[in-house]
Symmetry: C2
Subunit: 214 residues, 2 copies
């Protein structure tokens, strides 16, 4: 397994802090305590302080955090001033929904291509980005370096497409297929497994009902 | 914060075990060791045994696990023999992609309605399910009890719609909006935050590059 410098929990909380600070900034709030941050994030004030200490700490005893400073610092830590190029493989409904999600662009993730095996889709565009045949992917990636591949293909094709993507010199895969990928350790994989998430919710509902009935 | 009977890590691994066992079953494999399970899931053999011990344990020293038995047991634990009714609020691209994802139905989650504020969408159908105006939601939920609300609305409308949903007597919310919900503790919330996930991937890529350069 890949060894990370920062533990997964901290890194997963960073975008949440960032979103909350963005809300506070919009509301014109200048200062926030670790207590208020923890309430919103669902952890404890000491965890908040510990999280920020992983990156050098930004607070001041008795004052809390300056919203603007912390917002910018977390943005830098997350690398939101870096621009990543991204292609989507699989232009089915999920791939199309992702291609249309403009929020990513604001965070520095630029969609440069969409690929599919279905010739009926090839030649169409989503937000000005061409859908190309998957056979063109290797050449495309030579001409336009790709940082991130978004996998939105059916489960059965996942490993084949992941291997193809891994050969392109990419840095990361954002995987929506309900399958664990086995690619080179150098390639970072982030999974969004919709059905796992829904099953987890189903389990929690059942657990709550069982507890009520017992 | 809500107290769960089983820790989050275990519950989140259950769908992964379930998916892997389903693959093994399809391949005609009858028996699996905790070592093989752990390799696939990305934890340790002792964690695998510990996970299953939370639910009474299913293995036998020196034999491992019977794939069919374990698959059925985890399906039962996850409540996949239970049927939940589900409505989607927000029939934009993401809502439509989710409405079209038939995989959920196989796991017992039945889509019964789709709601939106846009009258241009009202009256259309996705997979035979009507898109209705959000104003009809309360009456609909009285006539057709709803277990789970899927929130696929823009961030700005999230809390208003979450409050509306919470008043319907639902059991859970599957939230795709990039916002933390503040609803009654009785309602279980499962978040899928796409932009958080992508930002996490961006962070990991940057971290790996920083490590290489240092």
């Amino acid at each position: 397994m890949k060894e990370y410098t920062q533990p997964d929990g901290v890194v997963r909380r960073l975008p949440k802090y960032y979103r909350y600070l963005s809300d506070l900034k919009q509301m014109g709030i200048a200062r926030v305590s670790s207590k208020d941050l923890s309430k919103r994030i669902g952890n404890t004030p000491s965890q908040v302080r510990q999280d920020f200490n992983c990156f050098g700490g930004f607070g001041q005893q008795g004052y809390g955090y300056d919203v603007e400073t912390l917002y910018n610092a977390i943005g830098n830590i997350l690398g939101l001033n870096t621009c990543y190029t991204m292609v989507i493989i699989g232009a089915g409904r999920l791939g199309q929904a992702l291609a249309n999600y403009t929020y990513f662009e604001k965070k520095g993730f630029q969609l440069t291509g969409i690929f599919d095996v279905r010739s009926s889709l090839v030649g169409k565009q989503i937000r000005g980005v061409d859908i190309r045949h998957i056979d063109e992917l290797s050449q495309f990636a030579k001409d336009n370096p790709v940082d991130i591949v978004v996998l939105a293909v059916p489960k059965e094709q996942t490993n084949e497409v992941a291997d193809l993507a891994a050969g392109l010199g990419i840095k990361g895969i954002w995987n929506f297929a309900p399958a664990e990928l086995s690619v080179d350790e150098q390639i970072l994989v982030e999974n969004i497994q919709l059905s796992d998430s829904l099953m987890t919710l189903g389990y929690r509902i059942k657990e709550a009902e069982d507890n009520q009935n017992s």
